[in-house]
């Protein structure tokens, strides 16, 4: 249970306590959302029955994890060195998802790779251009043209 057992005296919330409480909150949210579906009866369960049982189970497990997490690593001691990069990646992917059907596959993926290779990784401009253009065009050729997987094209036909 304790991922990194520490011998230091308890201070602040432990990581297992935090994750257990989040699971409990998630279970409560699901239970709240579930109220609009009929529960049915024990003999004839309705569409809300199994989700409610699962939410109760998840909540109970969350409480157990939190109760047993007193010796886990404190949350404030957790290191997140990769977190800023991870957030940038998720935001960039989100923008790409938004642009995919609006700009088309090739333009979106080209811009996506230029951003990562050129801006985030600061690679040389010619290698950025070669990799980004090559990937966008070749992957489109392979998947759309050869394998007949339909990929979106934007207003300019790319």
């Amino acid at each position: 249970m304790a991922d990194a057992v520490t011998t230091a005296p308890a201070r602040g919330l432990r990581n297992d306590q935090a994750s257990g409480l989040v699971l409990l909150l998630l279970a409560i949210f699901i239970g709240w959302q579930n109220r609009s579906y009929p529960l049915g009866s024990l003999q004839e369960p309705g569409p809300g029955y199994v989700p409610l049982m699962l939410a109760v189970f998840l909540g109970a497990i969350g409480v157990l994890i939190a109760l047993r997490g007193t010796r886990a690593q404190p949350v404030r001691d957790m290191k997140w060195p990769e977190a800023p990069r991870a957030v940038v990646i998720l935001i960039a992917c989100g923008i790409a998802a938004y642009a995919l059907e609006r700009l088309g596959y090739r333009i979106t993926i080209f811009a996506f790779l230029v951003f990562f290779l050129g801006v985030v990784e600061r690679k040389k401009w010619y290698s950025v251009l070669i990799v980004s253009t090559g990937f966008a065009l070749l992957s489109f050729l392979l998947f759309d043209t050869v394998l007949k997987v339909q990929l979106p094209t934007g207003p300019w036909g790319y």
Partner: protein, 517 residues
């Protein structure tokens, strides 16, 4: 037996068709690359290739995806041995002695024994699949909803017992997966649940965006920013030949690994990962000189590598015979077949003999292809490891977006992938196992439907689960497993087998960030 051979001949007549052969070959190469590349495991690799199989016939689809699966098992061992980076999680144990052998200048024999062991184990696994799946399928024809309910419950309990790490966290992951599986239209009442007004969620959350997000994107979120290219030894062809002594001491571990791996493969869970841990633990335990383990014992490479390949094949037994996925990978393969209107299950082997036997025969061919391909070309493949990660991860992310979008031409799947990627990243940082989420997602609708059908059959009488001997037997077994899995919560006395074989230990620290299912 005669009938089996006749069917196998039918299978080979399918598998040796040039088009099938080409796709088996392509699958093996892609699988090897996927297994070697950090950030892409067999599950994410298969999920991403899934849309590309929509235009192919079902036999070719499943042969291609299976090739990727066992190709990745081979590929993963190469990076474990040469660089101490497990290309996929099942190769974590290979790192220990494989890399020690590399440091002693014996990378060649380690790679060769890994390949030979994988080949033998893969072949043993295929024989097991060939003999067991049709028998199990014939038996499963008698299964009704109560039996399926008990089987699925048993599967979930076994999964929670066998998963590494904290039992409670595994159960929490399974519950999250089962709840994700509740999203969409309820098959029995027609209610759309938890769709939050999105029409696309009416069909439920697909396994592909969940698998790619949890296992592909989250891996990249954890590892992005690393730009160092580790030094790689390029083994020469001549150095690959193992000595007579190497072969002699490896025979036992390969045989045991094949058997253990196949049996564990049939049981639900991340079988290929667990099997390699169990095999390593057993080899260390029965060795005359256990102190050699960790310092370059070839048995420590032969056993786990054989076990994970046999387990990869064993996982196809319940998938083909019962239609029940025991791992997220077989779940994606079931999805691949269902796209073509084929539902794996007891009747499939009878109704689609050319599909099942063609698949079995293609695995014989694939194993041979991998042995022939991987050993001589290992020097070529390791060049891939020299590509800086800064170039690799944006391209892998682009593939993830492409793969998820093209499953149903919807950006909603890309959003699900990103949410799952973020969730997977956070859960991994907090020590949660991700495989039960993917498995729970697939099993949830099956489990709910079978429970409610059972109760409809018995007019709401729960004793239906106790009146049928097979159902009762499986439920009792499930409860026993649940008891053992929860025992550490109440008792601190003694160690169970899990800690003895290393399942409760963390993977080697150098290996952990790069491993993936």
């Amino acid at each position: 037996m005669g009938e089996t051979l006749q069917n196998l001949m039918l299978g080979f007549s399918v598998a040796l068709q040039p088009s099938v052969l080409v796709y088996a070959f392509v699958g093996c190469i892609i699988g090897t690359l996927v297994g070697m590349l950090p950030g892409l495991g067999p599950l994410a690799g298969i999920s991403l290739l899934l849309p590309a199989t929509f235009g192919l016939n079902p036999i070719i689809s499943v042969v291609l995806l299976a090739g990727v699966y066992y190709g990745a098992m081979y590929g993963g061992s190469t990076t474990s041995i040469l660089m101490r980076i497990p290309g996929e999680a099942a190769s974590v144990m290979t790192c220990i002695d494989g890399y020690a052998m590399t440091q002693q200048g014996r990378a060649g024999p380690a790679l060769a024994i890994a390949a030979i062991g994988s080949f033998i184990a893969g072949s043993v696994g295929v024989v097991g699949l060939m003999l067991m799946a049709p028998t199990l399928a014939a038996f499963a024809l008698r299964f009704g909803p109560p039996e399926y309910t008990a089987l699925l419950m048993l599967g979930l309990f076994v999964l929670s017992y066998l998963s590494g790490g904290s039992m409670l966290k595994t159960l929490a992951s399974a519950a999250i997966g089962l709840l994700l599986g509740m999203i969409g239209i309820d098959a029995m009442s027609g209610y759309t649940r938890f769709s939050f007004g999105l029409i696309e969620l009416g069909d439920g959350v697909g396994i592909v965006p969940v698998a790619v997000g949890l296992f592909g994107v989250s891996e990249i979120l954890l590892t992005a920013g690393q730009d160092s290219v580790p030094s790689v030894q390029r083994p020469r062809l001549r150095s690959l030949i193992p000595t007579g002594h190497d072969l002699k001491v490896s025979i036992g571990p390969i045989a045991r690994g094949s058997l253990i791996g196949f049996i564990i493969g049939i049981i639900p869970g991340s079988a290929h990962i667990i099997s390699s841990f169990v095999s390593y633990g057993i080899e260390r335990r029965i060795a005359k000189h256990p102190e050699r383990f960790g310092k370059g014992a070839i048995e420590g490479v032969a056993g786990p590598e054989s076990a994970n390949n046999a387990a990869a094949t064993g996982a196809f037994v319940p998938m083909m015979a019962l239609g029940i996925p025991t791992s997220p990978i077989t779940a994606v393969m079931i999805a691949a077949l269902m796209v073509h209107g084929i539902t794996p299950g007891p009747t499939m082997i009878q109704d689609q003999p050319e599909l099942f036997w063609g698949f079995v025969a293609s695995m014989y061919v694939g194993n041979a292809v991998l042995l022939i391909l991987n050993l001589p070309l290992v020097g070529v493949f390791v060049n891939l490891l020299r590509i800086p990660y800064a170039y690799l991860y944006p391209c892998i992310l682009a593939f993830c977006i492409l793969g998820c979008y093209s499953v149903s031409n919807s950006t909603v799947d890309v959003w699900i992938m990103l949410i799952m990627g973020g969730l997977g990243y956070v859960l991994r940082r907090f020590g949660y196992d991700l495989a039960p989420i993917a498995l729970g997602l697939i099993l949830a609708p099956m489990l709910e439907l079978s429970v409610r059908q059972s109760l409809a059959m018995s007019a709401g009488d729960y004793t239906i689960f106790l009146q049928r001997p097979l159902t009762l037997g499986m439920l009792v077994l499930g409860l026993v497993v649940l008891f053992f899995s929860l025992k550490p919560l109440f008792s601190k006395k003694g160690k169970d087998w899990r800690s003895e074989v290393g399942l409760e230990d963390e993977p080697p620290p150098e290996a952990a960030p790069q491993s993936k299912p």
